[in-house]
Symmetry: C2
Subunit: 456 residues, 2 copies
């Protein structure tokens, strides 16, 4: 029996835990699920004979090290900033580790020690980051193997609501941490490069600088730029590529309306509002509009944001009830972002039968002896229900698959790793297909930003 | 002989040092000017018999404490974040201290110790903060003494170029630290209250939410809101006042054009630009515009910012030469804000014969047994030349006057202080009049935001 410790039994752990439980007898593994709430952990393992649930308080050193000492590998599904404590213990006790989060500076600094102990700390092996790395590197490596030269890399990903559950004017529901959605794009300018020209977009323009995406002909989406696309040049071994852009996918029209919240200042999380508890939704909206003893909040809102009366965007705000004078905020010392999140959760929370959907889309341009070419590769997956969501599957399954392969010594390169090596991505992308996570690839004419392809 | 140590012989110390030198014989004082550059210090004292210049490195503990130990009072004209080291030494050696900067948390925390030692640490006694506090509190105290109830307090201040030196389309030149001008308004939302309604303006809307000001009938200005007007309610003893607004004055049209830099993201100081050194001004501008292999930077700029061809604003950007393809940035690893500052300094640097100008304007509304009233009080002063600028006079003279009065035991309330007590503001405002710094006060009908006063 080998032991796997999973820390964190939240929503995104469902598919991960199910996968490992299903394999537990054939792979001879015992799974321990640790969570601050033992009920959560128990619920997830559902009396499976090869699993046990424990109460695990990550801030309790004794509690944490005892659990880590007993296992062979640790999967940390904690919030990203908490991985480091687990990682240090894994190093101390000589345990492998897997996370779905971005490698932090602290995590990176452990690399030499991890190598010295012959351990694998695999990170960024969820959805985004994770499946995006693997599916992109698979194509990039193939292009390079065939003596192609990469000209363009664009990659897009979005967590959306499935069309059958898409019941509001925003074509959006919270399928993931709502707070992250409200704060998306903050913390600095977005940066990328197009045909050798650097581009920087400040947060307050981000949602007006979207690109349209056509996936499978009839499905139209839009995307706004992620924070730092530039750093992916070195990660993907494309240091001199002239075009590198990564973006977040939304349904068409979302960003233009979301921009209104950004313009108003409602997504600000850096200060608290006086007397926030007693404000109505209408009062909250009015905080960001010029004072007038006579004009209505609606009129001021429309004038300030230049929203015509027959603009569909206007209906989106009415739908959210942000002009309601009786609904109260009821949050004490809240930031604008916290209040906005509450207002949105009234309308955008998934209902019991709602399904989520993940869309990923890569565009790769390259040149070889036969000329310039372009590959488009897309993946679209829907959730089964509210437990086995598309998010839970795409985040959890690659984590689980990597974990088993590390245990089975199929993934062996030691150190703080990303899934960008063939050893990792080939078998995992292949196995993911069995779970409905597969990419459709097509060759299209190279477009780039060639003026000759611009009509009229 | 009493000893005064002045730390920092920069531009803003000129009037301060001149005032004290002029009084040195009658007041029996010796002035020591310490600066990192002894030449600067020597230049400022100009061989005056009652003064000496020393090289003073504030980061050299021995150097610093030796100078402080020998004096009776210290004037710190250092950048605001450096006062605290001086303040701790003043506490150790039992010396009074005067600064023109906002009281920091660290400075505030010394209050009890300063009181215990019977010392006066007078802060915020320059222009803004300083003359604004004093001139406002003089009127507020008078209104309260006459049983008036404060309804409205609005206060505006700006450092501008004098009309006779106003030679560019922006009607602006750098009369103070250019970096502070580029970064003005950043670091959080601006907050104030109008007739009991809180208002919050995010940075990216700040320069589009200006107010017009009419000072002395024919002089029109505009103002944008300062960061935190709310905190002045408690500082001025106006905790329940329904309207409290503080703003920065510019000539009409400045803010609308400045907003273009904000919208583009050119004022961002949080990241550095790759290869910034080699960029032309045109390249720099293009960093913030969408990529196009064909459209001109000018066209993209105008479309993005919605600037019509006959808009006067357009000429303002041409004047700054931001579309020049040959002028180089020549700054390595520079932030957008640093590059913008350089571009602006090409055009906005004061010429040898240019004069600056300070404008301050208070609007105070109150109610008493005879009804509602409004007082407007304004101050306008021009610099004599590039040494005795309006900024140097308005910052340095109140500092100097307070210093002498502390030495002469006319200002005695111990502790970390602001100039909001009559003991301080009455004599200093009176003396400032001898130097051309005086307020013109007039009674006007109470306007407030009364809808009855809105015509048509």
């Amino acid at each position: 029996m080998r032991n796997i410790l999973i820390i964190g039994a939240g929503r995104s752990s469902s598919s991960l835990i199910k996968y490992l439980l299903d394999k537990s007898s054939s792979e001879k593994i015992h799974i321990t699920v640790g969570d601050l709430s033992i009920e959560n952990a128990q619920h997830k393992i559902n009396n499976h004979p090869n699993a046990s649930a424990i109460k695990l308080d990550i801030f309790n050193r004794k509690n944490r090290t005892e659990a880590i000492e007993k296992t062979d590998i640790v999967i940390s599904m904690l919030p990203a900033h908490l991985h480091i404590e687990v990682a240090k213990d894994c190093l101390t006790y000589g345990k492998h580790m897997v996370t779905a989060s971005y490698v932090s500076k602290e995590m990176k600094s452990l690399h030499n020690q991890v190598v010295k102990k012959g351990l694998v700390f695999m990170n960024e092996i969820g959805l985004d980051p994770g499946i995006d790395h693997m599916s992109a590197m698979q194509i990039i490596d193939r292009i390079h193997e065939n003596n192609g030269k990469m000209l363009l890399f664009e990659s897009f990903c979005g967590g959306l609501v499935a069309p059958e559950s898409d019941t509001n004017l925003w074509n959006y529901k919270f399928t993931w941490n709502p707070r992250n959605v409200v704060l998306a794009g903050q913390g600095g300018a977005s940066m990328f490069i197009q045909e050798g020209t650097y581009k920087y977009i400040p947060y307050h323009k981000l949602f007006r600088r979207t690109e349209f995406l056509s996936i499978n002909e009839n499905e139209k989406f839009e995307a706004y730029a992620n924070r730092d696309s530039l750093k992916y040049r070195s990660i993907y071994g494309l240091d001199t590529i002239p075009t590198m852009y990564r973006g977040t996918i939304r349904k068409v029209g979302f960003s233009r309306a979301w921009n209104v919240f950004v313009q108003l200042g409602m997504t600000d999380d850096t200060y608290t509002i006086e007397n926030s508890e007693q404000l109505s939704y209408r009062d909250f909206t009015n905080l960001f509009l010029a004072y007038s003893p006579t004009d209505s909040v609606e009129l001021k809102f429309r004038l300030y944001l230049k929203i015509d009366q027959d603009d569909i965007m206007w209906e989106k705000f009415l739908e959210l009830d942000i002009f309601n004078p009786t609904k109260k905020v009821l949050l004490k010392d809240a930031t604008p972002a916290q209040i906005l999140q509450k207002i949105l959760m009234d309308s955008w929370t998934l209902q019991p039968n709602d399904k989520d959907m993940i869309v990923m889309h890569h565009i790769l341009g390259y040149e070889n002896e036969t000329g310039k070419h372009q590959i488009e590769s897309s993946m679209l997956i829907k959730g089964d229900d509210q437990t086995y969501t598309a998010m839970s599957k795409t985040v959890g399954l690659p984590v689980a698959m990597a974990t088993l392969r590390i245990l089975n010594k199929e993934i062996t390169t030691p150190g703080v790793q990303l899934p960008i090596k063939k050893e990792v991505y080939e078998p995992i992308l292949k196995e993911l297909q069995n779970y409905g996570i597969n990419f459709t690839e097509k060759e299209v004419p190279f477009l780039g930003y060639n003026p000759n392809s611009v009509k009229g």
